[in-house]
C-alpha cells in the first residue's frame, strides 16, 4: 500500500474549499429549501433529504471518487479507499472551523451575510446551540468522511456496477430536483383524467418525491445500464445495416414524432410550463440569431440586446393603445397592424439596426469588436431609459398596453397559443440557419472565422460577408423582441440590459458554438431551469459564470458541439473524423 500525500492534500483542499464556498455564498442555505425526497428519514430535528444537504456531501463524494479512481490503477484498491477517506477528513476541516466560528462569533454575519443562524442550523444538523455546536460539527465531519468513503468505494467497483450506481443516484437526484415539474405535468394529466389523484399521491407528496417512489426510480435507474446493452445494440445494428431508403424513412418517422411531440407539448405540460416554453423559445430564437454572428462568422457580438430592444420597441410603438402608440400619435387607426404585418416590420427594423451598427465595427477584430458592440448595447440601454427619448418611447415608464397578437381573428392570449408563434418562429429560423450554414455565404463565414486575412486573400468580400452576418443575426433578435413585447404586454427599458446579451451568449457557448441542437439544449438548461426552480434563479449568473469558465477550460467546443468547431478548438485537424468523435465522448 502506498499513499501519495501530495495528491491527497491537494484534492482534499480543493474539495474542502468547494464545500466552504457553497456554504459561504449561501447556496447550501438557499438550496436547503428544495426537498429532494420527502421525509426520507428524521434524525433529531432535521429532515432528510434536501438539495442543500446533498450539496454538503456531494463535493466530498466526488473528491473521494476522483482520488480513488486516480490512485487505484497504480497502487491498488486499498490505497484508493484510504486516500478517499483522507480526502474526506481534509475536506471536513474548513466546515468544522466554519461551524465553530459561526456559532461562537455570531457577529461574523455583519460581514458575511450567509453565515447566519439558519446556515449554522443546516450545517450542524440542528446542533447549532453554542454548547452543542462541536457535536454538530463532528457529526457533519463524520458524514462527510463517510461520503468520501462511499465515493472511493464506488470508484473501485467494476465499470458496469459503477455506472449502475452513479446512474441510479443521478436519476434520483434529477427527478427529486425536478419534482415540481413532474407535479405540474401530473396535475395537467389529472385534468384530462389520464391519471388518478391516488396514483399521483403514491409518487409525490406536496410536490416532492416520496421515499417509495424514489426507491423505485433508484432501482429502475440501477438496472437500466445493466439491461440497455441488450436492447440498444440490436437496434443500432439493424439501423446501420438498413438500406439507405429505409434509413431515410426511419429518419422521417423520427422527425414526424418529434414534430407531434412539439405540437402537443403545451397541452401536456400545462399553463405555467407553457409560459416557460415561450420564454425558452424566445431564447432559442435569439441563440440561433447570435449563433450566426458568433458561431458561424466568429464575430463576438456582446450587444445583442440592441436587436431585441429594437424589435420590442417597434412592436410596442406600432400596436400599443397607450399614449406612445402610433394610434395615439398619428392618424393610423388602433389595431391597424396585425401579426402578419408586425413580424416583417420588426424583423426589418432589427435588420436595419444590425446593418447600421455593423458598419462602424467592420474593421475591428476579436476582442475590440466585442467591446465595441458591448458599448453600442449599453448606449441603447441607457438611451431607452433616458428622459431624452421619453416623449417618443416612454423613458423609464416604457410602453404600456401592448395588446396580444390577433391571428385570423383569434386573439392569442394564453401561453399555450403564444407557444405556437414562438415554435413557428424557431422552426423558421432553424430552417434559415441550416440552409445558410450549407450555403456559399455560410462557407464564407467559416473562412472568415478561421482566418480573415486568408479569407480576403482568397477573394471573399469580407465587408459584405460580415455585414450579412450581422444583419441576419439581428433579424432573429428583432423577431424575439417582437414576440417578447406581445407576450409581456409592456415594453420596459429594464428588460433590456447587458444581462440579455450575456444570457444569450452563455447559452450558445454552453450548448456549443455553431451547433444548432446545442443551442436548444443550452436554452432549455440555462433559461428554462431558473424559471422552474426559484432557488437556481438566485444563483443564475454565478452558475453561468462558472459554466462559461469551466466550459472554456475543459470543453471549449460546448456540450453538443458542431463537428467543425470541435476539430478547430481541439486542434486535431489531421485526425480522421471518426477519431475526434471518440475523443469527444467523456472518458468514463
Amino acid at each position: 500500500m502506498k499513499l501519495n500525500f501530495n495528491t491527497i492534500l491537494r484534492v482534499g483542499a480543493l474539495t474542502g474549499f468547494a464545500i466552504f464556498y457553497l456554504a459561504m455564498v449561501g447556496m447550501v442555505e438557499t438550496f436547503n429549501e428544495r426537498e429532494i425526497i420527502r421525509d426520507l428519514l428524521e434524525i433529531g430535528n432535521i429532515e432528510l433529504l434536501t438539495l442543500g444537504q446533498v450539496l454538503m456531501i456531494l463535493p466530498s463524494m466526488i473528491g473521494g471518487y476522483f482520488i480513488s479512481r486516480r490512485i487505484t490503477p497504480a497502487d491498488g484498491a486499498l490505497s484508493g479507499i484510504i486516500s478517499g477517506v483522507l480526502v474526506g477528513v481534509i475536506s471536513a476541516i474548513p466546515m468544522v472551523i466554519l461551524i465553530m466560528a459561526g456559532t461562537t462569533f455570531p457577529n461574523i454575519r455583519d460581514m458575511f451575510v450567509s453565515v447566519n443562524p439558519t446556515l449554522m442550523e443546516v450545517l450542524s444538523l440542528g446542533f447549532s446551540r453554542q454548547d452543542a455546536a462541536f457535536t454538530g460539527a463532528m457529526i457533519l465531519a463524520a458524514i462527510m468522511i463517510f461520503s468520501a468513503l462511499d465515493g472511493a468505494i464506488v470508484a473501485v467497483l467494476p465499470q458496469i456496477w459503477r455506472r449502475a450506481i452513479i446512474n441510479s443516484a443521478g436519476w434520483v437526484l434529477g427527478i427529486g430536483v425536478m419534482s415540481e415539474l413532474l407535479n405540474q405535468i401530473f396535475s395537467t394529466f389529472r385534468d384530462y383524467g389520464w391519471i388518478e389523484r391516488d396514483t399521483v399521491r403514491l409518487m409525490l407528496q406536496s410536490g416532492t418525491v416520496k421515499p417509495a417512489f424514489a426507491g423505485f426510480i433508484a432501482i429502475v435507474a440501477f438496472l437500466w445500464p445493466l439491461v440497455i446493452p441488450y436492447i440498444r445494440t440490436p437496434i443500432q445494428e439493424r439501423y446501420q445495416t438498413a438500406t439507405p431508403a429505409a434509413k431515410t424513412t426511419t429518419n422521417y418517422v423520427g422527425y414526424a414524432l418529434l414534430m407531434i411531440l412539439l405540437l402537443g407539448l403545451p397541452w401536456l405540460v400545462g399553463r405555467f410550463l407553457s409560459d416557460v416554453l415561450v420564454t425558452i423559445s424566445l431564447y432559442v430564437l435569439m441563440g440561433l440569431g447570435l449563433n450566426i454572428a458568433v458561431g458561424m462568422a466568429g464575430l463576438l457580438d456582446l450587444g445583442y440586446l440592441t436587436n431585441f430592444a429594437v424589435g420590442a420597441y417597434v412592436t410596442g410603438l406600432l400596436v400599443s393603445t397607450g399614449p406612445q402608440g402610433i394610434a395615439a400619435t398619428t392618424a393610423v387607426p388602433e389595431g391597424f397592424f396585425n401579426l402578419w404585418m408586425l413580424i416583417p416590420i420588426s424583423l426589418l427594423s432589427a435588420m436595419l439596426t444590425g446593418f447600421v451598427f455593423a458598419l462602424p465595427v467592420l474593421r475591428m477584430r476579436g476582442d475590440y469588436l466585442a467591446i465595441a458592440t458591448l458599448g453600442f448595447g449599453e448606449i441603447i440601454a441607457k438611451l431607452a431609459l433616458s428622459d431624452a427619448l421619453k416623449p417618443y418611447i416612454g423613458g423609464a415608464q416604457g410602453i404600456l398596453f401592448v395588446p396580444k397578437p390577433v391571428f385570423f381573428g383569434i386573439e392569442l392570449t394564453n401561453p399555450e397559443q403564444l407557444y405556437y408563434v414562438g415554435l413557428a418562429a424557431c422552426l423558421f429560423m432553424l430552417y434559415v440557419t441550416t440552409r445558410l450554414f450549407n450555403s456559399r455565404t455560410g462557407r464564407q463565414w467559416g473562412a472568415i472565422r478561421e482566418d480573415e486575412d486568408v479569407a480576403a486573400a482568397m477573394g471573399i468580400d469580407t465587408t459584405r460577408t460580415k455585414v450579412i452576418a450581422f444583419t441576419l443575426s439581428a433579424a432573429a433578435g428583432g423577431l424575439a423582441g417582437a414576440l417578447f413585447a406581445t407576450k409581456v404586454g409592456t415594453v420596459f427599458p429594464n428588460s433590456f440590459t447587458v444581462i440579455v446579451s450575456i444570457n444569450v451568449l452563455s447559452l450558445i457557448i454552453v450548448g456549443g458554438m455553431g451547433s444548432i441542437p446545442g443551442i436548444i439544449v443550452g436554452a432549455a438548461a440555462l433559461v428554462g431551469l431558473p424559471e422552474i426552480l426559484r432557488e437556481f434563479a438566485e444563483f443564475r449568473f454565478l452558475i453561468y459564470g462558472a459554466l462559461l469558465v469551466t466550459m472554456m477550460l475543459t470543453r471549449p467546443e460546448g456540450l453538443w458541439p458542431s463537428e467543425a468547431r470541435r476539430r478547430e478548438l481541439r486542434g486535431d485537424d489531421d485526425e480522421p473524423p471518426i477519431e475526434s468523435t471518440t475523443t469527444a465522448v467523456p472518458a468514463d
Partner: protein
C-alpha cells in the same frame, strides 16, 4: 493623391467619413450653443472639470491593470472591474470598524487608516487577480483569441455573484472622513472640494510609483521585454510566468487601491455590481490613451473623466437634449466606440492596429 484616394475609397469608408464629420459638427455646434447661451458660470465649469479629473484619476488607476495585462498577454481582462470591486467591497467593512473605533476623527489617525484601507483593499484585489490568472487564464494561453475573452466574461459574472453571495446585495457606504470634508478656496468664489484634491494626488502618486517600477527596476525591464516579444524574453532568461503573475499583482493592487479611493470619493456606496461599468470605462481610458502605455492610461483616464463630466452640459445641452445629465454613461460609451472605430491605437499609442487590434 486625389484620384487615387477616391479609387481606394469604398462605401464603408465613405460612411465612416460622413459619421466623423457629423460628430465633429454636432460637438462644435452643441458647445457653441451652450457657451453662447452662457447657462453655466465659470465656477460651475471649474467644478465639473475638477470632479471629472478626480473621477478620471480613478479610471486611470483601473485602466493601468488593463493596459499592463493587454501589453503582455494581448488579452482584455474583462474581470478587472470585479477585482476593483472586490477590494472596495472588502475594505468597506474595515472602514466601518475604523469609524466605530473613532480612528477617522483626527487627521493623523485618519491618514493612517486611509493608508491601511488602501493596503487592505490592494492586497485583497491582488490575491484575487493572482488566483484568477492561475485558475482561469494561464491554462488558456495560446488558445484562440475569443476563448480567453469568453472566460474573462464568465469570470466577471462569477466574481460579481460570488461577492453578492458573500457580502449581500445591498449598498454599503464608506464612512465620512471629517478630514476630507470642506473645500480649498482658490479664488474668491471658486473652491475645490478637498476630497477631489486628495483623490487626484493619491492617484498620481501611485501612478508615479508604477512608472518608476516599470521604467527603472529590473522586474519592470523584464515586463517591458516580455511585452515586446515573449519568446525572445524567454531566451534571455526571463521567467515569463513570474513576470505575468507580477503584472496581474500590480494591476490588481492598483485596482484595489482605486476601489478605496473611489469609496472615499463617491458617497453612493459600494455593492457587487459596482465594478462592471467602471471596468468598461477604464478599458475605454486605456484604449483612449493608447493601450500598453502607462502614461497613456493616465492621460486617457483624465480625459475620459473630464469628457464624461462636462460632455452632457457642454455638448448635449447645447443640442437641446433633455435630461442631459442622465446621459453621462452614453458619452463615455460613445467615446469608447468612437475611439475603437477611428483611433484604436489611442492618443499616444504607436500604430499597432494590425497586430493588436
Amino acid at each position: 493623391m486625389g484620384r487615387d484616394f477616391l479609387k481606394r475609397l469604398n462605401w464603408v469608408d465613405a460612411v465612416l467619413y460622413v459619421l466623423r464629420i457629423v460628430i465633429i459638427i454636432a460637438v462644435i455646434y452643441g458647445s457653441y450653443n451652450t457657451i453662447m447661451a452662457g447657462k453655466y458660470s465659470s465656477e460651475q465649469w471649474v467644478g465639473l472639470i475638477m470632479s471629472g479629473l478626480a473621477q478620471g484619476s480613478i479610471y486611470a488607476l483601473i485602466a493601468l491593470g488593463y493596459t499592463l495585462v493587454y501589453g503582455i498577454l494581448l488579452m482584455i481582462n474583462f474581470a478587472h472591474g470585479e477585482i476593483f470591486m472586490a477590494g472596495a467591497f472588502t475594505a468597506v467593512f474595515a472602514a466601518e470598524g475604523l469609524a466605530r473605533a473613532g480612528w477617522l476623527e483626527t487627521p493623523f489617525l485618519a491618514t493612517i487608516s486611509i493608508l491601511l484601507l488602501v493596503l487592505l483593499a490592494a492586497s485583497v484585489s491582488m490575491m484575487l487577480a493572482v488566483i484568477l490568472e492561475r485558475v482561469a487564464y494561464r491554462p488558456l494561453r495560446g488558445s484562440p483569441r475569443l476563448v480567453p475573452l469568453i472566460t474573462a466574461i464568465g469570470a466577471s459574472f462569477f466574481l460579481q455573484y460570488t461577492f453578492k453571495g458573500l457580502y449581500g446585495s445591498g449598498f454599503k457606504s464608506y464612512p465620512l472622513v471629517p478630514m476630507l470634508q470642506g473645500g480649498i478656496p482658490i479664488t474668491a468664489n471658486i473652491s475645490i472640494p478637498r476630497v477631489q484634491v486628495v483623490v487626484l494626488v493619491l492617484a498620481i502618486v501611485l501612478m508615479a510609483g508604477l512608472y518608476f517600477l516599470v521604467e527603472k527596476t529590473k522586474i519592470g525591464k523584464a515586463m517591458r521585454a516580455v511585452s515586446e516579444n515573449k519568446e525572445v524574453a524567454r531566451l534571455m532568461g526571463i521567467n515569463i510566468d513570474r513576470v505575468i503573475v507580477f503584472t496581474f499583482m500590480i494591476g490588481g493592487a492598483l485596482a484595489g487601491a482605486a476601489g478605496v479611493i473611489n469609496g472615499l470619493y463617491r458617497p453612493q456606496g459600494v455593492n457587487f455590481f459596482m465594478g462592471f461599468f467602471p471596468g468598461i470605462k477604464a478599458f475605454t481610458a486605456a484604449v483612449l490613451g493608447g493601450i500598453g502605455s502607462v502614461p497613456g492610461a493616465l492621460i486617457g483616464g483624465l480625459l475620459l473623466g473630464v469628457f464624461e463630466s462636462i460632455g452632457p452640459n457642454l455638448v448635449l445641452d447645447g443640442l437641446g437634449i433633455r435630461g442631459a445629465n442622465q446621459l453621462k454613461d452614453v458619452i463615455a460609451f460613445s467615446l469608447l466606440v468612437l475611439v475603437l472605430i477611428f483611433r484604436p491605437q489611442g492618443i499616444i499609442g504607436e500604430k499597432l492596429a494590425e497586430k493588436k487590434a
